[in-house]
Symmetry: none
Subunit: 314 residues, 2 copies
Amino acid sequence: MQIMQESMLPPSIEQLTTFMAVARQASFAGAADVIGKDASVLTRRVHALEQHLGVKLFERTTRRLALTEAGQRYLERVSRALEELTSAQQEANTLVSVPRGWLRLSLPRTFAHRCISPWLPEFMAAHPEIQVDARHTDQYVDLVAEHFDVAIRLGETLSDSGLVARPVAEYGKYLYASPDYLQRKGMPTHPAMLDAFDGLIYTGAAQPAEWLLSEAGQQVLVQPIVRLASDDVVTLLRAACCGLGVIASADWAVQDELANGELVKILPTWSVGPRRSVYVVTPSRTLLPAKTRVFIDWASQRLAQQLETANGMS
Amino acid sequence: MQIMQESMLPPSIEQLTTFMAVARQASFAGAADVIGKDASVLTRRVHALEQHLGVKLFERTTRRLALTEAGQRYLERVSRALEELTSAQQEANTLVSVPRGWLRLSLPRTFAHRCISPWLPEFMAAHPEIQVDARHTDQYVDLVAEHFDVAIRLGETLSDSGLVARPVAEYGKYLYASPDYLQRKGMPTHPAMLDAFDGLIYTGAAQPAEWLLSEAGQQVLVQPIVRLASDDVVTLLRAACCGLGVIASADWAVQDELANGELVKILPTWSVGPRRSVYVVTPSRTLLPAKTRVFIDWASQRLAQQLETANGMS
DNA sequence: CTTTTTTACGTAGACCGTAACCATC
DNA sequence: GATGGTTACGGTCTACGTAAAAAAG
């Protein structure tokens, strides 16, 4: 832990810009107009700069003002440095005003397949300068450490602190089965009847092989017969469509299957477990880059609309 | 005469250097040590910079800190700009004809005590505008990174690239012991006899406890009895003067002891190991500041003269 | 004498350090 | 409870503008 040398610190920006202005105008008084400060200020700044460098930058009388050789060399390089600096600033600025650059997304795999992937190409077409790095995972990751710009997360509540979670839509889980399966077993009219049905159980989050159904305050615990358990939602859905049993699924996950008749909703007024939300999560709220803001807007709008229609289907 | 836009003004140097330090240390607390200011100062500076740019540079929680994409880009370009600035400053320094300002020296500790310290006050008196920052170390340091103007280095060859090493003097290592020790053990007349003597061994550079003596092409490997080993030369010298054994030492390190009779040279025609050189090293700038040139001149002359007399003493 | 640069001086605001606060591990 | 980042507050110190002085043509 070494302490920086005062003597090696660069001069102040004010000194440098003042020096440049005076050199360009070849006059303190002229530069004073440009900068909008009194000439006395400029004298002091230039003097301080010369002191700091140990070099005389100008040869000056009251009537003439000329750069010394050291001054000319220094001017050239200082100009380059400050140009680099302002250009860096402009680049930084474009990142907040123009949507561009890599957008790193952390998405729940199945949700992304059903609810993000459909409109992602359209989003990218609308913002051709955005590059997307979509990482799919079903565990929570450290947004900051892994440099994610946005994450989509599902659940009842979010425990993460330090992050900003915006709820953009709600959804519930319901029971579904294929029409032919229901024809064989009969359509249940009360949850209690489900104990005799086959359950297709998701084992991803160490969930028990039972369903807590609720309708308007009433709750019923159902324990179906388990013939197939898996940690992969797609596998379970395929099985359900093929008539292997009943599946508890988020409504947004079965829109297609409902539409083409592969699945039918069972006990449509009874939902499985509590109501859940879709959250759009970012590392912070302020000073978001344009790419992030644009994605959040797009995602919020699309997801809200999409999940509402899913909700509306029976 | 158009007045400069406030919004286009670059941020302050303090903000920029602070940003760089925090980014490099990946920590506000760490950067606080480096800069030598309180961490609260740094957060304010970084916050102000972010506000000024309108961009978040770090994503930070109390436990994690990472550059945003904008921050990475900005860091790169700011680094370049500031390097240009300090480099411009150094160039300006080379054009000053009067030796003045801070002169940062990197010196081997023992060598400095014996061969630099004696004339350093005289040097400073001759150049009253020079301020000296003499750092003592026995490891090689990065001259450029730590902003040293000159380093003195000892050894057979120098591997450093990008640096300019000027050999200014040569020296050899020889064997010495106190008169009373030699009276007790007898004065050896051939290296082979030394195996029965006590060796005072320097363990600084993982050297073996043996001496490779050479005289006019002949070489003899001697393995003395080791009763004292140390990584501190002064300790060994004191021990030698007190009659604890034989020490292998650079001739310049024992001039005083030879002069006042505390030590006597053994087998004066046999040297220990290869011949070595004293180098004056500077960063590879073609143009050197006056302060540096003046020091190099002084050091070259003094060291050459000093080591020659040391060489001449028997 | 006029124009331009430099110095003197009193004030206002910025910036720093201390210390309390908050969050994370 | 310890570490690290942020915020609040009071004091100091710099840097500004006014204005007068000095220098040059």
